[in-house]
Symmetry: C2
Subunit: 425 residues, 2 copies
Amino acid sequence: MKKIKIGLLGLGTVGTGVYKLIRMRSDVMERTIGAQLEIKKILVHNKNKKREGVDESLLTDNWKDILEDEEIQIVIEVIGGIEPAKTMILEALKAGKNVVSANKDLIAEEGRELLDTAQEYGKDFLFEAAVAGGIPIIRPLKQCLAGNEITDVLGIVNGTTNYILTKMFEEGMEFEDALRQAQKLGYAEADPTADVEGLDAGRKVAIMASIAFHSRVVFSDVYTEGITKITAADIAYAKEFDSVIKLLGVARNTESGIEVGVYPVMLPKDHPLASVRESFNAVFIHGDAVDDAMFYGRGAGEMPTASAVVGDVIDVARDLAYDCTGRISCTCYRQIPVKDFGEIENKFFLRMQVKNRPGVLAQIAQVFGGHKVSIARVVQKNVHLEKAELVIVTERVKERHMKDATEELKNMDSIYEISSVIREY
Amino acid sequence: MKKIKIGLLGLGTVGTGVYKLIRMRSDVMERTIGAQLEIKKILVHNKNKKREGVDESLLTDNWKDILEDEEIQIVIEVIGGIEPAKTMILEALKAGKNVVSANKDLIAEEGRELLDTAQEYGKDFLFEAAVAGGIPIIRPLKQCLAGNEITDVLGIVNGTTNYILTKMFEEGMEFEDALRQAQKLGYAEADPTADVEGLDAGRKVAIMASIAFHSRVVFSDVYTEGITKITAADIAYAKEFDSVIKLLGVARNTESGIEVGVYPVMLPKDHPLASVRESFNAVFIHGDAVDDAMFYGRGAGEMPTASAVVGDVIDVARDLAYDCTGRISCTCYRQIPVKDFGEIENKFFLRMQVKNRPGVLAQIAQVFGGHKVSIARVVQKNVHLEKAELVIVTERVKERHMKDATEELKNMDSIYEISSVIREY
């Protein structure tokens, strides 16, 4: 019986899931792809650590054991981070091995070099698991929707923040309490910065934008803003406006360039992304032929991520059987500039605490007018003797104009505080 | 410059969309797949019919013109129906051409023969457009999720009925009024039978079940029940129960065999399928590794369907470039029996008009008990002097037991009418 031998780099959460899933499916694979999948070696940092349910004879702490093993045709990289993952992937490709990776950090930074190397050596480099975990998104974009000009990619691609925002919305919790609950349940890490500040989502949106628009977008192109400033009061307003607040990765291909950012958005309740709850992820796209489409599922976790990795491994195995590795490589054949974020237009929701006296609204309106910001709606609430809460929703205005206007407002005597600035869909 | 020549069979709505989209994308294809796509000939019934925007020199009414043209490497079949589509596809494959089809009727009946022939001749036979129009679902199931044992496939795969049910739910319309509106807007045909009776959805669910469970399911295996009996009163109860009513294609792979059917279902509002509105489609799946996932988008229409067809064509073009056509063929390597529908267990919502007098409920409960139907909930409403409305929700019971119980209830003196029997999720 034919066997396809695999080297697994890393045995953390995802690596363990991949190990389990490949063993579970080893037999049926023979019938789907005509070969058994066999993990021959596993690269770990510490060979002596006790690992439940893992065949210890497969473990090695020497990368060369895998790189120089000519039987190994597929390398699965689930170490994460830039180095040593990058060097290992490049060496594996150059040694004639195909590579499957779940490494969003690396691909969002160095995807081009990895894909170019794979193409040069005629090998597969697949990374479905790097974006939105188990949800099929890379292959749909590269293959199923290849006949489209994709103009919009909107994604809830971070489960931690979606869990927190769901708790805030459904149970009226404040951010800090929801975060603590997420940490208790293992949805958030002890240091939650990468999640709650939108960095994790930013890496994923860079990868999706590159593939959707056929033009390289890297993480440093992505404006990121997290959810730490969102309060229960903002959520209450969102409800009043028949909306929800979601942390969205937003990428648009416009006539003046690519717009790309991650930030909280007030989204109408009937938008398909609005009903994505708990730690689920979803990616919404718009293409000129397909119209709107959305892909929903588990964006992280041991087995969902393993599902995406093993799907890629099976695809490589089919390419090996048909001698066509390298069949789908880099599809970034364009060079579209990424727009300066200040030039992007958005609608804004502003909530501020102001002095309760005549003429304040006129002053504020004048500041906005001076910065070319048109006001669509004003609501005054929570009026007290000295203080009132003012909510202003703008028309679509340039980010830089909005920023200048809020800077000026902050310095006004009649404004105690600008409590929140949230973009509207 | 390399050109890949295509023969297009049929120039109806989908055919015209495919023609337009391939021409729109002809140039960029050179950069993604290294070849231009060119429609060389189009098979039509009537060559002399006036067709806006179509190069008339491509039209032919003679199938042999395409079959015997050795330059044509890809045949796109968008005629629909069993014959002559089946014969043409088989002849094309045997003549060494690859085939892309959007023909759900044919694939739901004869998929095995077509796929086996493609495999025998080492050619691609792809049909992403045959299920859920523009939504990527076949390729995600066959590739991205190939590492999973899929246990559940639930689909809203008919836009006409979803539009009608949305109008009934959101605007309180009766079925007939919503149908008329759908017909006026072109969402429903003059003879809406195939849509409203669940036949169209039944074909799609047969195809999806086959792929998801790796075992052939044909249309005649699928129990179908439409939405013509759903009333505004049922919808009002659904709202009261925090649910919606959707026409679902349901396929499950259980230890005792495959369960497959199409019928209206009361679905809790927080299920991802519940928020699929208007004529949109969505397919929800559960796999042992990926957990829950859902694919949402346009299930029909000229350009969304063309999007799926052209995605397949581009995939064939890549296989041609790498000399690996036939790379993914039939994946039905199992033979799992399809269960008799009577043996399937479901929960039921029953609404009935009964005589308003003591002892009636006891009589009804006795009938249910005699047929092994456990009652979970009883609500009495709209009580008049002579008549009352009784709503009963059952526990999970066998379809045949439920059928026997309702037959007996129908003949009871104290029951005027069984107004509706709807399955609950």
